[in-house]
Structures are given as structure tokens and as C-alpha cells.
Point group: C3
Chain length 265, copies 3
């Protein structure tokens, strides 16, 4: 299994998948750099006039609603529909789910196009399920990732998606199995948008394999380990942001295998 | 006084205020990272469909017109009006005031919602006052911060705002007193958007105290000292941008107190 | 010649040209920092309501279509028309030319306003020529820069532009001469938007001299040499992005002259 994940890391470098991102303004630069560092080719494009063509040339699509507005919301829906109809894998990052009715309405529409993967923190995954059902009513929105598992199962079953709850332990859920990944470092929460980078890297990995659960596990392990190693050389979140990109780029198999903390349930 | 300012720095870390930013594309990433580094929680959101909800959940609002357009201008007005009506503190950064009639018209409308704080460089503060009155006619637009004091007094009196003129010496003016802060380093002007980061950090501090003048003084001192310390480890503006974030994150009380250069008039 | 180029580098610092950028979201921060590092003054503004005023106060204009949409496309056309009509030099970066019909249609319209300089990679230059003619039909879109020379000559002749094909060797073509610049490092392709930074730096240089070919050569040499020197101190593309800005800021004449690899044909 560990070997498989490292092989996926190598496959991304070999195939350099074209990843089409409709993502937020805050993280565009870092996301593009994270994708380049792991060996993928980022496209950032959101114009309604070109979404279809971009989805067609891409290997996978990343939709992140961080700084959405009415126009971008429509672009995301066009992209999700296009990805769904031509069977391109796509990943949804429901940033700020539950914060506003506009976000939840957009997310509800996006879910109809069945994301291949959903990645969010515990609160977002709970809010996403809540927006669709009453199943999670009463669940605390500041929940730890373990408390979001019911919500993730609901989303996984209902939309046939792999769901990744990121947190101190990342939990990857599909209909048959659960992976737990315990890499990463608390200082990573002080760098804006590393969750968004994780989502984009998932986008790269689902562009080169049909084993989606392993793709998500490899992506989350890669960024988590890169973060752990980068923290060792960092004085704070500023240098961590820089060193993390370096480490995504130059990580060795030995580092990956020896740091990986993964558990299958 | 010095002790008070450091206590405010600690309070931001303890309360982690939610700061809602409608800011410019150039600085969004750094602004979010600066807010995280000082212990605040940034929200970046500009969609008209969710402005009211975002203002309601935030502790304070930051409006920065750097890359405004017609849509963003409307969003900013909605946010300013909402902040004013529910009495959330908000800070205005009049980037490029005086450069175009569109900027000045937008700023004039924003001022009607009485920003809690206005922070700009000398030229911007002068242009902002000019846009509202003939009082500053003839004042050179490349003025040093001391020359903008009349303009700042006008704005402070007329809009009941605390006005901060940033420059080699930062001048903080309210109706009763003036603080002068002489921290910072010239190389900081070679990093894009550190003024915008200062404004956002002011947003964090006015989210946790009602003593607005001290909040602004603490914020300006914090970024100024962080800049001075970061320059010592930097080879140029690239590394300064990175080291500044690290220093905002790991500054000690001893560093803050020993570097602080503040004067009350 | 080498001496001339270094003199241009000094001229930018002395005159600090105001460079008006309508560029893409991914690179705005780095582009602004690159311009500050070389001594220029960046403006980032795209609102239709202020384009004319911004073009009027700027020394040069940079148009980069990276994350264009329908609104931004119109802004770019307004800016290009304004620059052309008041004879301000402007540079076009045709990011992703050939990828979608929307991009090509926008580029075709922009070309009517005769960019002073066009800078793109080989595929983009070929696509740009193709969008206007059948002359380059059959040319491989993954072409090396040398293969794009025919396309560049066509564009240079037809639009009276200086064309720069960037790649392992940068090729600068005007109607009478060709410059070849062989600075740079492969790791630079792993940092997002360094081509966009190159375009913006060209914008700075054409703002301070009427010798456009030498301005482009100086800009491309400066960023190429900065990249080579920065790689020596970098562990990967994350630190390269940072060190490159530092090196643009603190490069010495000795470094510039001893690293410069330029050939005139």
C-alpha cells in the first residue's frame, strides 16, 4: 500500500496531468505552485466563454468556492456539469460551507454533478451534509474530524463520492473502506490555503489513476509529509509556505515511506 | 502604554477575531497570512449575495479599494453600510485615492458610512480629504506624512474616524490626541501591499477592543517592528515578505517592548 | 551592447516608471513585487470606469490575458486602444493562446491596437500567428522556440511589434535584427508566472527608452540572470520564487555583465 502511494506520486510527475482549477483568489498562486511542484500542469480559467473547452483539454477539474460570487458560481456549475457529462474526474472544495445561504445554495447545485472527491474540514463536511438533509442536525459545527464521519458517509453514499475530512487526522471515506492519515503539523493551519492546495493536489492525482481512494490518500499523505518536513526548516508560517513548495518538489521515496502514517479501517 | 499595546497583541491571539476582508487581488494571500500570523481568522468574501451574512458573523470589516471595479465597489458599499448599521468596527484603505474619478467617487460614498479607522499614505489621506472639501487645495500630492496632518484632522473631525497616515513615521490622529510611531524600514516599501497588511491587522485589533486609538497604534507598531526585525534576516524584498510573516507570528514581548518607538502628543 | 543593457537596468531604477498592469490573478502579487524589485512602480487596475485615466498617468501598459473573462477582455481592449491612441508603449502576453476560441478572439482584437512588444512561449507565438493567418498551419504546438521564428517574423512584420519568444533561449525579433539570450534555468518553469513577470519587466523597460529591442533584451537578460543566480541559493521552486525577487533587487553590474549570454544575429 505505501509502495502504491509512492508510485502514484511518481506517476503524476511522469504524466504531468493538466488540472483545470476554478479556485479562489487568495490561493491561486500557491495552488499553481503546488501543482507545478508535484509535477502537474495547472490551468486557471473561469470565463464562461471558455469553460467547456478548458474542461475538455484537462485531465481533471478542481472547484473551490472560497471567493465565489454570482458569476463564478455559474462558471463552477458549467464546469461541474461539463466534467460530469464527459466523465472527467473532479474534486469539490466546499470552503466556508454553512457560513451563508449563498454558499450552501451553490454547493447544493454543484453536488448534483456528483464530484468524484469532496475535501473539506470537519465543519464544512457537516455543513455540506446538513444543507442536503436533516441527518446531521444538532452536530456541532466546530466539530473535530471524527465527529464529521457520519456526515461524510452520508455524502459518500448519496453522491457516490470519495469524501476526505481533513484535520489533525485526515479521514478518507468511500463506500467500502476508510483510510486514516496522521501526517501534517499544526503550524500548517497558520498558512492560508493549504487545504486548498491539498484539494488541488488531489485533482492532480485523480487525473492519473482510476483508483480514487488511493489517489486521495497519496495526495493527502504527500502534502502532510511535505508540511512536517518543511516545518523542521521553518521559523514560522511565512517560511513554511515557501519550504512546503520546495519539499513537494524534492521529496524522496525514503522520506515519503519513512514518514507516512496511514491506517486502513 | 507600551505594556497596553503588547496586551492588545496578546488579546488578538486569545480571541482570534473573525476579520471580513473585501480587499484587492494583489495582496489577498499576504493579507490572509498576516492575519493568521497575528492570531486572527481571515474571511475573504465579496459576493453581494453574502455580504450581509458575512458582516454579521465577523468581528470587524476591512475595505481596501486597491483593485476595485463596478461590482466590487457596490459590494464594498453594501459591507460598509451593513457594518455601520450593526455597529461593527470597520477600516478603510483608500488605495490610489486621487488617481481616478472612479476611485474618488467610490471613496466619497464609503465615507458616508463612517469608517472606524482610515489608513493610507500621505498622498492618499490628502486626496481623500480633497475629494470632500477644498480645505486641502494646493497641498502637494507627493507630500510627506507630516504634511497630511491637516487633511487627517479634517477627516477625523468630519467622519469621527481615527486616521492613520503611514510613512517613515506613522501618525495616528483622533480628536483628542496624536500618536507617532517610528518603527519600520524603507525596504518595506519595496514589498507590495504591506500597507494593505497593516490595514488588515488594524482590522484584527479593532475587533478585540473599543480603545480604537490604541488598537491602531498596536497594529502599526507590530507590523513596523516585525518589518525591522525581518529586514535583519533578509537579502531583499522577496525574503522580507516571508520573514515578516514569520516575525508577526513569533515576536516576543521583549522584542516588541525594546524596539517600540512611540510618542504621544 | 552589454554596457547599454546594464545602463537600461539603472535607468529603470532612476526613473521608476509607472507600469499599468491588467494581468491575471495568479501572478498579480509576484508581478507587483518583481516590478518593485527592479525599481518600477506597479499599478494594478482593470475597472472600465478608470482605464483611460490609468493609461494616461502610466508610462507603459502590460496586458496579460491569463485569467481573462468577458469583463476583463473588454477592459483590456479599452486599455490597448487607449495606449495605442495616446502612443503609450504596451506589451501583450498571450497566455494560453490557442487553447480556446475565446482567447484567440480576444487576442485578435488586441492585436489591432499594435502592441509595442509581444512576449510568449513558442506555442503561444505560433498560436497567435495562426489565429491571424494560415501561414503557420501544420506547425507543432509543442514547438521549441526556434520553430516559432517564422510565426514571430509574421507578427513582427504585420503588426510592427517586437516579438520575444521565451524559452531555453529567448529570441527577440524585430524587422532588422535578432537577439538571442541564453540566460535562465529550467527550474524557473516550475515557478508559476515567471513568464508573466518577464512581460511586466519588459513593460518597465519600454517605459524608459525608445530603443524597444534593447529594452526587451535588457528585461529578458535581467530576469534570466536573476533566475540563474537565485537557483544557486534555492532548494526548490518555493525558495526560487523568493530568491529571484531578492536578486532582481540586489543584482550588481558585475553579476549582470559576467553572466550575460547574448548574441546578435
Amino acid at each position: 500500500m505505501d509502495k502504491n502511494l509512492w508510485e502514484l506520486v511518481q506517476l503524476v510527475k511522469q504524466h504531468s496531468p493538466l488540472v483545470h482549477n476554478i479556485t479562489n483568489y487568495v490561493v491561486m498562486n500557491n495552488t499553481a505552485n503546488a501543482l507545478l511542484a508535484v509535477g502537474a500542469s495547472p490551468i486557471m480559467a473561469h470565463a464562461k466563454s471558455e469553460i467547456h473547452e478548458m474542461v475538455n483539454i484537462a485531465h481533471s477539474v478542481v472547484i473551490n468556492i472560497g471567493t465565489l460570487d454570482e458569476y463564478w458560481s455559474e462558471s463552477m456549475l458549467i464546469a461541474a456539469e461539463a466534467a460530469h457529462s464527459v466523465k472527467k474526474p473532479w474534486v469539490l472544495d466546499p470552503v466556508g460551507a454553512g457560513a451563508t445561504t449563498f454558499r450552501d445554495a451553490t454547493l447544493n447545485q454543484l453536488l448534483q454533478y456528483q464530484p468524484t472527491v469532496i475535501r473539506g474540514n470537519a465543519s464544512e463536511i457537516i455543513a455540506l451534509a446538513k444543507a442536503n438533509t436533516s441527518i446531521t442536525k444538532g452536530v456541532d459545527s466546530t466539530a473535530k474530524s471524527s465527529e464529521a464521519i457520519n456526515a461524510a458517509h452520508f455524502l459518500a453514499d448519496h453522491y457516490h463520492a470519495i469524501v476526505c475530512i481533513s484535520g489533525e487526522t485526515d479521514i478518507i471515506i468511500d463506500s467500502q473502506q476508510i483510510f486514516l492519515i496522521s501526517n501534517g503539523h499544526p503550524m500548517m493551519t497558520k498558512v492560508t490555503g493549504l487545504g486548498c492546495s491539498a484539494t488541488a493536489i488531489i485533482g492532480a492525482f485523480i487525473g492519473i489513476t482510476e483508483n480514487i481512494s488511493e489517489a486521495v490518500a497519496a495526495a493527502m499523505a504527500l502534502i502532510g509529509i511535505a508540511g512536517e518536513l518543511a516545518v523542521l526548516e521553518s521559523k514560522g508560517p511565512g517560511s513554511l509556505q515557501v519550504n512546503l513548495i520546495d519539499k513537494l518538489y524534492n521529496m524522496t521515496e525514503k522520506e515519503f515511506i519513512s514518514y507516512l502514517k496511514i491506517e486502513r479501517k
